[in-house]
């Protein structure tokens, strides 16, 4: 299929949206045609999500026109967009934790007969949709808040599928998904395209974009840099246009790790409600980067949080530089052990505070607070880590994902830790920033810091780390180092299938 048939499902011209200090969209023109997958790529903060919010009626643009199937439309509310047949999955999860899975899937489109919910029809619809996104085994009566991030994302996709619109917009749907779930999602997207649905797809995983997209639009600083058939783009070009310069897409070379063992974990068992997992032993030397790989739910995050003292342990010791660290986050921090948590919005940052305040939060003074000094501190970090923000006083919530992640890092680096625990440090982060984070981590290791990274991006763990520990069922089931660091071995260990 070279060119989609008929008029564009949605076409926008001259879309402009300004926020105080930033122009999120600057005369953006884009058109999505039926039967085609249109990928939108760009750095963090390029304006992708803003465009999605405008196209779905969540945000009113300052200027510009939107036409739907050839007719100009105004979208005063999301409901208008939904009624036109514009379904979407937002980057910010809109799954409601207190509602059940079924209620979430049907939200806003409950089948009802004379005001009364038609439970049977609803049940059928939900089962069908869950099946399509690969959640056939999930109990629709469960509270959505109990689900893992990945499954919540799939529930959200199921909701969009039930809408069965003419345009489906997916804003980084795959960021939290596992390999299988991604494949299922791609299958669904292709099937929809074949049925004539227009799909607008946003992702930072450029390989994925390459395999999925028919058309590509690159956005930078709110402007369309280029737009065209996917054939014309390779990853290099995308990156170049996104960032505005050449970026070397290689993992920084690993330096030799130092001798002294900085972090030593012995017989660690997290306190859990269910059956206790096997005790974990691990060590990280100075300058060493160790990776934690595993399936979703394999217990990596829990392990990191337990080591960091953010959740209680049932048994075991954690030693930093020869000092035994007793439980509790503050003791760990005092010993030089810090955690960059997985959900940065919920656990990493206080979004309401200005950026500078987040940078100093872990080391806020006991006495007077000097705004001047805080701004200076922020400026310093901004330069060091390449944080892009309007200024030190910009509310953190307005920063893009990658810059928020750097903010969390900056916060902890101010305490000059000797052990850095990173949980999914590059999730939702654009390629450019990703590379910067890799460089930063490798630089820190070069200065003798011990780094432990949990990540679901296998190439990342394999490329970044001296050693990779594979988790399954909360236990470390294997270690790969040197030449043995291959994806296949890691997968086998993670799945528990013999070689």
């Amino acid at each position: 299929m070279l060119i989609g048939t008929g008029v564009a499902a949605v076409a926008a011209t001259g879309l402009t949206k300004r926020y105080p200090g930033v122009t999120a969209l600057d005369e953006v023109a884009i058109s999505c045609r039926p039967g085609r997958v249109h990928a939108l790529v760009g750095e963090n903060g390029a304006g992708k999500s803003t465009l999605v919010r405008v196209l779905t009626g969540n945000t009113a643009p300052d200027a510009g026109e939107i036409s739907f199937r050839g007719r100009p439309v105004t979208l005063p509310s999301p409901r208008h967009a939904l009624e036109l047949g514009i379904a979407s999955v937002h980057q910010e999860l809109t799954v409601l934790p207190e509602l059940t899975v079924a209620e979430n899937v049907l939200l806003g489109q409950e089948p009802a007969a004379r005001g009364r919910l038609d439970r049977r029809a609803g049940g059928r619809t939900v089962a069908e949709a869950l099946d399509r996104v690969g959640l056939a085994g999930l109990d629709p009566a469960r509270r959505a808040g109990e689900l893992s991030l990945a499954n919540r994302q799939l529930v959200e996709i199921a909701r969009a599928l039930v809408r069965g619109g003419r345009l489906l917009i997916l804003d980084e749907p795959s960021a939290v998904l596992s390999g299988d779930a991604r494949q299922t999602l791609f299958g669904v997207i292709r099937a929809l395209a074949t049925d004539g649905v227009a799909v607008l797809y946003i992702s930072h995983l450029l390989d994925e974009v390459r395999t999925l997209a028919d058309d590509i639009t690159v956005l930078r600083d709110g402007r369309v840099v280029s737009s065209g058939l996917a054939h014309g783009y390779d990853v290099r070009r995308m990156v170049r246009e996104m960032v505005g310069r050449e970026v070397d897409l290689v993992y920084p070379s690993l330096l030799e790790a130092g001798e002294p063992t900085v972090l030593e974990v012995r017989g660690l068992v997290p306190r859990t409600a269910g059956p206790a997992p096997a005790p974990v032993d691990l060590t990280v030397r100075a300058g060493e980067i160790v990776g934690l790989a595993g399936l979703v739910g394999s217990g990596r995050s829990r392990l990191l949080r337990t080591v960091a003292g953010a959740r209680p342990r049932a048994a075991g010791t954690v030693t930093v530089n020869g000092w035994k660290v007793r439980g509790g986050l503050r003791r760990a921090v005092a010993a030089g052990l810090v955690l960059v948590p997985e959900e940065r919005k919920a656990d990493g940052l206080v979004l309401e505070l200005p950026a500078r305040a987040n940078v100093t939060l872990a080391k806020a003074p006991r006495g007077w607070l000097s705004v001047r000094r805080e701004r200076a501190a922020f400026a310093e970090d901004q330069a060091k880590l390449g944080i892009r923000a309007v200024g030190p006083d910009q509310p953190t919530g307005q920063l893009s994902g990658g810059n928020q992640q750097k903010l969390v890092l900056a916060k902890w680096l101010r305490r000059q830790p000797s052990v850095l625990l990173l949980d999914e440090p590059t999730r939702g982060v654009d390629v450019g920033a990703k590379v910067e984070i890799y460089r930063l981590v490798s630089r820190l290791a070069g200065r003798g810091m011990a780094v432990l990274i949990a990540s679901s991006e296998l190439p990342e763990v394999l490329g970044m780390c001296h050693r990779v520990l594979v988790c399954r069922g909360g236990a470390v089931v294997g270690e790969l180092s040197g030449e043995a660091r291959t994806e296949e071995r890691a997968l086998r260990l993670a799945l528990g299938v013999a070689e």
Partner: protein
């Protein structure tokens, strides 16, 4: 793709049953049951006598109606401080407008409930369309409506028909007739919450209005309906207040709002919205009625009644632990 992860099947976290029960308002009922057991031991037959039961049950009707409305509003992420004043105004108007003419009973009751709904509608519009914070809006109308009631009359006024007062004061064995009103209202609210799209939308709006809006929920309309129902239920409570008093008084419903909110929150409903249990709210109503009733039944010293009330609320509150860690 090279990402290493496979969707594990989700398991129910252990202890879900108990946690669920507590979240479902079970804790308050546990306290209520403990109280019942204690009263049975201390004052067995006297306590369970039909007349005494009827007395205690009658005490649940007015508070129950107001709490139901409050439950809806709080579930939707709002709060209504004006329910006591709405009930007062409704009570006064019921008595004044009926003024002893039996034939006026039905139209006046309907009109007064409509008025309550209108008051609720105004709240809903101020909160959703004008985007004012519900706490202040309803604090303002708490004063405003009480003021209107006092402007209408500073003393007792009007008189309800004997049919209405007979209904409010009569009982069948241990069951006061008026309980029917509460039961019907509970059934209606339960139906709305469980069997209609409105119920789901209400919880969604309370949980995360932005997300609900993005999913196509008419956030404003849902909020307005919740306030409207709350106003109507408060007015209905006012009608019953008047019916029980047989006359209207400009102070009939003073203070109801706090009892109503307390009961709702005691029952496990989050004041942040989105999460709540109707069973729990009813448990809260039962608890408060039981505390007032038992103090009289057990003939506890008057100077201690408030202390006891405080201790019981404190215990009930402290018992319900909502551990919601991930």
């Amino acid at each position: 793709m090279t990402t290493l992860t496979a969707a594990a099947t989700e398991r129910r976290t252990p202890g879900n049953g108990l946690a669920g029960a507590i979240r479902g308002g079970g804790a308050v009922w546990a306290v209520v049951l403990a109280g019942l057991a204690g009263l049975t031991l201390a004052h067995g037959p006297g306590f369970w006598s039909p007349a005494n039961m009827a007395g205690i049950l009658a005490g649940t009707v007015v508070l129950g109606l107001v709490a139901l409305g409050q439950h809806l509003v709080v579930l939707g992420g709002g709060i209504d401080l004006s329910v006591g004043s709405t009930a007062t105004l409704a009570a006064l108007l019921t008595a004044i407008l009926i003024d002893g003419y039996p034939i006026r009973t039905v139209p006046v009751v309907l009109a007064v409930v409509m008025l309550g709904a209108l008051i609720g509608l105004a709240h809903g519009l101020l909160v959703s369309a004008a985007r004012l914070p519900p706490f202040i809006v309803t604090l303002a109308t708490l004063y405003l409506l009480q003021g209107v009631a006092l402007m209408i009359s500073t003393g007792p006024a009007g008189q309800v028909s004997s049919a209405l007062s007979g209904f409010a004061l009569g009982r069948l064995g241990p069951l006061p007739y008026a309980l029917v009103v509460l039961i019907v209202a509970v059934a209606l609210v339960a139906f709305l919450l469980r069997r209609t799209a409105f119920g789901r939308h209400l919880r969604a709006v309370g949980g995360d209005p932005a997300a609900a809006r993005a999913a196509g929920v008419r956030v404003n309309r849902v909020r307005v309906v919740a306030y409207l129902l709350c106003g109507a239920l408060a007015a209905l409570a006012g009608v019953l207040l008047a019916a029980r008093a047989t006359i209207g008084s400009p102070t009939a419903g003073v203070g109801l709002e706090l009892s109503a909110i307390t009961v709702v929150v005691l029952g496990g409903t989050s004041l942040l919205g989105g999460r709540g249990s109707l069973v729990g709210t009813l448990g809260g109503v039962a608890l408060l009625a039981l505390v007032t009733g038992s103090v009289t039944v057990l003939q506890l010293p008057a100077t201690l009644t408030e202390l006891i009330r405080g201790v019981v609320i404190l215990i009930a509150a402290a018992v319900f632990v909502t551990r919601r860690s991930r």
